[in-house]
C-alpha cells in the first residue's frame, strides 16, 4: 500500500514563497484581484505562516508552510453531503471538483483552514490562459479546491512507471512546491515505504503533526523543535 506524505523541515524555510507561486503556476490557481483579496478570498493552496514571538528587541520569527495536511482522519470528509471530498486508497484527501455543490461545510470543519472556494469564475486575461497546466482542470465558480499533493504529477509518475514496467521509485514524484524550493524544505514520498526518504525523516524526534491533539493524523509531518502555541502565534 501507499500513503503519500510530505515532511516539511521548518528549520530551513526562509519564507521566500517561491513554493506559493510554483503551486499557483502548476495548479491553475486563480488570482482574484485586489478587491476580492481584501475580502479574504485569495486562493493560495499553500501559505507561509509566520509566527512572531517576543517584543522588540528580543523578537524571533518562525516560518511554516501550511498546505492541505492530507489527514488520515480528515474532518472535511464526513461532512460533505455528496462525497466530493473523500479518502483515496493512497492516503490522499481527494477533492472532486465536478461533484462539489458548494456547501463549504468541509472548509468550515478544516482546522487548518487550507480549503479555498471559487466565489466567481476564474479570469485569465489573454494570453495568460496559455500558461494553464493542461493536466489540471480549471475550477468553475461555486466549487471548493485545495492542495492535492499535485495529484496530476503522482498520476503522471505512476503512468510513466507503468509504461516502463517498474514500480514508482522514491523521488520520482515531486509536487510543485518541493521542486521549487531552493532550501529543500519539502520531502515528498510514500510514508508506508520504510526505505523512502520521507518515511525516514518522519521518524525524526523533531517530527510532529500540526494540531496533533485533534487526532486528524495528517500526512504532512513538520520537523520543528517545538510546536507553536496556537494561541500566541499571531502578530
Amino acid at each position: 500500500m501507499t500513503r503519500w506524505g510530505m515532511v516539511v523541515d521548518t528549520d530551513r524555510c526562509t519564507g521566500c514563497e517561491a513554493c506559493v507561486v510554483a503551486c499557483a503556476e502548476e495548479n491553475n490557481v486563480q488570482t482574484v484581484g485586489e478587491e476580492e483579496a481584501k475580502k479574504g478570498r485569495a486562493m493560495h493552496w499553500l501559505r507561509i505562516e509566520r509566527a512572531v514571538e517576543g517584543t522588540f528587541p528580543e523578537v524571533s520569527v518562525k516560518f511554516r508552510p501550511v498546505m492541505c495536511q492530507q489527514c488520515g482522519e480528515a474532518p472535511c470528509e464526513p461532512v460533505c453531503p455528496v462525497y466530493a471530498t473523500y479518502h483515496t486508497d493512497e492516503g490522499l484527501n481527494a477533492m472532486v471538483y465536478s461533484r462539489c455543490v458548494g456547501t463549504r461545510f468541509c472548509a468550515n470543519n478544516c482546522p487548518y483552514t487550507v480549503r479555498t472556494f471559487n466565489w466567481f469564475d476564474p479570469e485569465f486575461p489573454e494570453p495568460l490562459d496559455r500558461q494553464l497546466n493542461p493536466d489540471v482542470s480549471v475550477r468553475v465558480d461555486g466549487v471548493m479546491e485545495k492542495c492535492t499533493f499535485c495529484v496530476q504529477r503522482i498520476k503522471e509518475g505512476q503512468r510513466t512507471a507503468k509504461g516502463e514496467d517498474r514500480d514508482v521509485e522514491d523521488g520520482d514524484i515531486q509536487p510543485a512546491c518541493a521542486s521549487a524550493c531552493a532550501a529543500q524544505v519539502f520531502t515528498f514520498g510514500d510514508l508506508e515505504d520504510p526505505e523512502s526518504k520521507a518515511a525516514k525523516l518522519s521518524k525524526s524526534p523533531r517530527a510532529r503533526h500540526l494540531l496533533a491533539d485533534l487526532g486528524t493524523l495528517p500526512g504532512v509531518i513538520y520537523l520543528e523543535d517545538q510546536e507553536w502555541n496556537p494561541g500566541t502565534d499571531v502578530s
Binding site: D89, A94, V96, Y97, S98, V136, S137, V151, Q152, K155
Partner: protein, 122 residues
C-alpha cells in the same frame, strides 16, 4: 487506414492530436483531389490559416475530467469503443455520450480499471 497513422499522439500522450494540414494535403493531392471538401482543405492550407475543428467528443470544462488516451490504448481499448466507426462516417458524429460518466464507469468496472474518482477527475 489505422487511426494512429495520423493521430500520432494517441499512444504516447493524453491527446491523440491532429496531423498537420500539410500531411493531409500531401496525400489528398493524390486521392480524391477534386472532392469539394478536399478542395476546401487545400484552399485553407494555401491561405495559411490553421483550421479550427469543432470538437465532437468534448468534455464540458465543469466536468473537470482528465482523459488520457495513451493509458486507454495501452489497455487495448479500441478507438471505436468511444469514437464509433469513424472510417465509415462522412461527418464525424458523437456515437457515445462521453459526457455520461456512467458509460465510463461501466467500462472501468468491466475491465477492472480503477474507479477511484481521482483517476479521471483532478
Amino acid at each position: 487506414m489505422p487511426c494512429n497513422r495520423c493521430h500520432t499522439g494517441v499512444e504516447r500522450g493524453p491527446v491523440a492530436g491532429l496531423p498537420p494540414v500539410s500531411l493531409c494535403v500531401r496525400c489528398h493531392k493524390r486521392f480524391i483531389p477534386e472532392h469539394p471538401e478536399i478542395v476546401k482543405l487545400v484552399e485553407m492550407y494555401e491561405s495559411g490559416e490553421p483550421i479550427r475543428w469543432r470538437k465532437i467528443n468534448a468534455m464540458p470544462p465543469a466536468a473537470a475530467v482528465q482523459f488520457h488516451h495513451a493509458a486507454h490504448i495501452k489497455a487495448a481499448v479500441a478507438c471505436e469503443t468511444c469514437h464509433g466507426d469513424v472510417s465509415n462516417m462522412t461527418l464525424a458524429v458523437r456515437v457515445v455520450n462521453t459526457a455520461d460518466m456512467g458509460w465510463c464507469v461501466d467500462c472501468h468496472v468491466e475491465n477492472e480499471a480503477s474507479i477511484d474518482c481521482l483517476t479521471c477527475h483532478h
